[in-house]
Amino acid sequence: MSAEQSPKIVIVDESPIRAAILEEGLREAGFTQVVHIREMQSLLARIYAVDPDIILIDLENPSRDVLEAMFQVSRAVKRPIAMFVDQSDSASIQASVEAGVSAYIVDGLKKERIKPILDLCVSRFNAFAKLQEELERTKSQLEDRKIIEKAKGILMRVKGLNEDEAYVLLRSTAMREKKKIGEIAQSIITASEMLK
């Protein structure tokens, strides 16, 4: 695909990582003209300057309503603009909203060319969401580990246990109370701080 043929794509996203993932995917797929806009200040001016064929925006971006207004005021833009793909393609709309991305397509761009872009965005957004989830999980595991270490220390000091015994006590209490071991550890820390 030559540069002339490649549609101009603007990515509006405040997350630089997600935008990079998206941009990379689009470039790999042969879309050479990709611009990332991160700042929401003077968003419209920047979009006008790029004059894109497609705008991709993260659904959690409050400036979506600003974009919608831009499409309403057709006098202000060079070409009439339509949103998403079209009425009949509700599956694409659903997939993209569920993944958290919204696509605005400038009228005149062929439908066949939009579909692969949208599909790619949806899969990249989903991949990013999974990554984010894993990161959160790892973070909370790390956090838990720190709390458990601290609670073990308290138990060892107060009850004269060794490290293994302290851990076994934490674990068995968690099982009995049907709680996470991290929660039991946290309550030990809280209690010990209150009793100081």
């Binding site: 409050p62 979506r64 309503d65 919608e68 207004a69 659903q94």
Partner: protein, 387 residues
Amino acid sequence: MSGPLRIGFIPLVDAAALIVAVDKGFAAAEGLEVELVREVSWSNVRDKLNIGLFDAAHLLAPVAIASSLGLGHVKVPIVAPFNLGINGNAITVSPALLSALMEEIDGDRFDPMATAKALARVVAKRRKAGAEPLTFGMTFPFSTHNYQLRFWMAAAGVDPDEDVRLVVLPPPFMVDSLKSGHVDAFCVGAPWNSIAVDLGVGHILHFVSDILVHAAEKVLAIRQSWADKNPDVVAALVRAAEKAADFIEHPENRTEAARILAQPERIGVDAEVIQRTLDGRLKISPDGTFRESDRYLLVGREGAGRPDPVQAAWLYAQMVRWGQAPLTPDGVKTAMAVFRPDLYEAALGHRRPVEAPAPFGAFAGPAFDPTDISGHLEAFEVGRWKA
């Protein structure tokens, strides 16, 4: 019914009946399990409702109508069996614009015709001086805020598309934009006007009830196809919202209602600011001037919950006036069919006594007649409407 209902909302005080219905247990008492989902933009609320990620939503009344007409986006018929609020917006101006208006005003500062005429003179002066046009912020192209601003300024001959700039801003960005001079004024719902006043960056110029005495604001919006399949759930939801609205309107419950709404996962601002809105007692200037109006926001009073198709017709007429929609008999019919008093009355099992004043009570123009929208629009000088 499978699983909890998912209902989207935007953190604004006029989501009160919905939030209180869930958090105070009125929904549970109707056998409903509801998950409220906080959203960041009206486009999101509309899209998630349209594709079925939400079963219902707190929605701008004009967005429900636009969606049913297929304006600006895909066409998905929406019904509104409950009106979440009447009025509730205000126009806030920067200190600089307020003093410019006060220099030009001939008459009462709270008379919208006097302020609109003052605005017309300020606009003319600025043009003569070669200054940039004034910029007004509002929340969405299909919004009461957009139509209220336009209605007000056009009454004095200010053309909202030619003489000033109207820009969309997400409500949480309004205050910053006023402070930074990005906009000179805005029209938005609570709590944002009060926050601008509290931060000393704005003055409330008008409650929108100065412009239109009684205007539908937000609705409980449901996809028509879903409503048709789940009439019992819709009825239960309406009853829960009606009970919540009644609860909120009792002055002795206001503090509790404000506390519920202030929760970080709901509106997330000071309960005191929210209570000012519910009480209709708003600080309008940073110097501490208060203004009271029992019409600031009606949640349950004067039959506010009952959707009135005449209100839908008026909103459609504004879309026509400002070039967003063509005027067709089908368009009027479709718009009016969005507001469903029949569903409201069926849910409550009886027709509630309604002491509502005549709708609108507009400060300018002839009384609105939904059977003669073209005749009504003819009476206005400024507009994008062509017969």
